[in-house]
Structures are given as C-alpha cells and as structure tokens.
C-alpha cells in the first residue's frame, strides 16, 4: 500500500509504479490534494426520523459520495491547465476501435503535435505496447477487478508519465459504457466512441455515458455498406439523451472522416488555451 495516502488497495497497478514504497509527491504542483478539509457540520440533536434516540446522535454529512474522486479530478484539471495540456477521456464498449483510432491519430499527428497516452485496461499492457510502437509515450494502468479508471489513478499516472507542456493527453478508459460515466478524471472532454457494428440504440441503452460525453465518434463507417445500421436514427437517439453532443463519423481503418476529428482536436486545443 502507498504509505503517503493509503492508496493501492485492491489490484490496481500502474506500470513502473512500485506501490509498496513509492515516494511520489501527492500534491499536484502547489495544490496538495490530500489536504484535510473541515466540513463544519452540526453535531446537534437527532432528526425526526430517529425516534427513541439514546446515546446515539445524528450527524449531518451532505457530502457527495464521489466527492473524493472529484477532488482528485479537480487537482488533475489544475495540473493539466497549468501546463496547457488538453486531456481527452475516450470511453466506449470493448471492441469499438478505441485503440485503433488512437494509433491512427498518433501516427498521423505525431509530427505536428506533442501527445501522450494513458491506457486503462483490467489486465495486460498490450494496448500501451501497441501505442508505444508509434513512438508516442504511453503508460498502462491495470485496474485489476476495477471496471473504470478513477481520478486518483490518473493523478498518479500523470506524475509518472509527465506529458509535455501544450500536449494532447488521450486517456483510454476501460472498455465499459456504464461506470466510467460517473468518474471525472479531470479531463476537458469525454469522447464516446461507438462503432457501427454495435446497435444504433446504444445511446439509449447507455444514456449516462452519452449524456456525459461532449463528442460522439461513430467509428468503422467503412463497414456501413455491409450492415443495416441506421446512422440517422443513432444520431437522433444520441441527441435525445444529450442535445448538445457533437457527432463525427469516421473510419480509423480507411481514414475517411479522420480530418474532421483532427480539426476538432486542434480547435478544442486552441479553445482550451484561450480559456485558461
């Protein structure tokens, strides 16, 4: 277990990160995220729904269950903003082509743009190995039994990976359209990837994820002639759960539509710097 913050329970592991005795700075820059904060909630008498109260008392908490995660996420966000790093959290089902999309993107943009990748999977470093073959630096997080990345894991990964200033950081989440929706990692945007070999009603089946995403990428469009996937209906479903969502259609295999994705990255990056 990490002696600084007690993290590392369970089976989470970060490549090159010895969890037994690491001595990482837990504050992100000048913002120590483990700071004790005092919530000054009343210790007053019990509330109406505790009749017959003896020595027991009621404690008002009113705290978000995800509050801890959100504190870590806020610290990550500050750390990234200070370095003008655009972080994108890529979420999808397993097999939608996240890694292939990333590899194509990295290969096409690596001459123009500094980039780095955090890979999340339950097991193996296969994806990080594939990414590193492009020459871009990547770090694998294995969540063990965990079904999502959380902001704390990503905070550690940032310290180890140290993406360069002004870069684009892709965080490839665990393939799962459910749980990663709830966990803010400190990213600028969630990007949901849906491939046309899946059902067009996925936005309705997994509404939380498509609601949380700012961009939906409809991948594998080169296969559309062989399928009866209804693109218009899929887009309509996505807009039902998230009227503001932007949608790009592309094929990471044929390259069709990739330019629009690169323009989106570029525009978003410029906006992020303007806004900071």
């Amino acid at each position: 277990m990490c002696t600084v913050c007690g993290c590392g329970e369970g089976e989470t592991s970060i490549e090159g990160h010895a969890h037994d005795q690491h001595s990482h700075p837990h504050g992100h820059g000048d913002q120590p995220h483990s700071a004790e904060h005092s919530h000054d909630y009343g210790q007053g008498p019990a509330h109406a729904h505790a009749p017959g109260l003896s020595q027991a008392r009621m404690v008002q908490i009113e705290q978000d269950i995800l509050g801890k995660n959100n504190e870590y996420a806020a610290a990550n966000r500050r750390w990234l903003a200070q370095r003008n790093i655009l972080a994108l959290n890529l979420v999808s089902s397993p097999g939608s082509g996240k890694t292939s999309l990333l590899i194509r993107t990295l290969s096409d943009l690596k001459e123009q743009l500094p980039m780095a990748v955090i890979e999340g999977d339950q097991q193996t470093s296969h994806d990080a190995d594939r990414i590193r073959e492009t020459g871009v630096k990547a770090l694998q997080i294995n969540t063990g039994k965990g079904c999502h990345l959380d902001a704390h894991m990503v905070g550690h990964a940032l310290q180890t990976l140290t993406p360069e200033e002004g870069s684009v950081l892709f965080i490839e989440n665990v393939g799962n359209l459910v749980c990663p929706a709830a966990f803010d990692l400190g990213e600028a945007h969630k990007v949901a990837i849906l491939s046309v070999t899946e059902g067009e009603d996925k936005p309705l089946k997994y509404p939380d994820m498509f609601h949380a995403a700012d961009l939906m990428i409809l991948n594998k469009t080169d296969l559309l002639p062989h399928l009866d996937f209804d693109v218009e209906r899929c887009i309509e479903y996505a807009r039902r759960v998230n009227p503001r969502i932007r949608i790009l259609q592309l094929s990471a295999t044929s390259g069709e539509g990739m330019d629009a994705w690169y323009q989106w990255i570029d525009a978003t990056r410029q906006l992020a710097v303007l806004g900071s």
């Binding site: 995800l66 509050g67 965990g146």
Partner: protein
C-alpha cells in the same frame, strides 16, 4: 458494477467524519440517490454489506432516499419529472429537456454512537 466503488466512497466519507466528529460506531447511513444517478439500488445495498465489514459501519443499516429525476422542458417552460434521461417531456412529448435534478449521489446523514 461501480456501485462497489461508490460504497467504498461512502465508507471513506463515514471514516473521515468519524475522525472529525469523534464517533466510533455507525448505526444507520442515509444516502440520497437521484433517479438519474446511474445507480442500481440493489447493487448498492449488496455492495454496502460487503464493504462495511471490518469498518466502524460494520453494524450499520443502509437507508436510501430516492430523489426524482427532474428536467426543465424548454417548450413548456416548466419543470417536469422524468424517470430516464431519454424520456420525453410527459406534458408535450419534446426531447428538449435540461436535466435539473435527480443526479444526486450523497451521504445525507449518519446515526452514530
């Protein structure tokens, strides 16, 4: 599946406030969970029973207060109640809804000794 992580979050909140407020046993935990929070209540109860073992909430019972999903309907210009994110406005059938409530995921209060 993330309900287990959420339950660990609940225990964390409980342990933090135990340190701050000086109690050593929790009898009841009240959670507020919105209808649109993406949480399965049965999984939450199951997860809580698993993670509370060996903690100061070992004996604690879990009470869940369900909060309704609410949204502002643009055409109707009023707040309506919805059960799912993709529900249409129950009054006019429009999908131009802004979710305004029902995403809560909070530890509301504790009964402690």
């Amino acid at each position: 599946m993330h309900e287990l992580s959420l339950c660990e979050g609940v225990i964390q909140v409980v342990e933090d406030s135990a340190r701050q407020q000086g109690f050593c046993r929790v009898k009841t935990v009240w959670l507020e969970i919105g209808a649109l929070a993406g949480v399965e209540l049965e999984a939450m109860r199951f997860g809580f029973d698993v993670v509370k073992r060996g903690t100061l909430a070992e004996e604690a019972s879990l009470e869940i207060i369900r909060l309704p999903g609410q949204a502002w309907c643009l055409p109707c210009a009023k707040t309506v109640t919805i059960d799912q994110r993709f529900d249409a406005c129950p009054a006019c059938g429009s999908y131009q809804l802004q979710v305004t409530g029902g995403e809560e995921l909070r530890v509301k209060e504790l009964e402690v000794e």
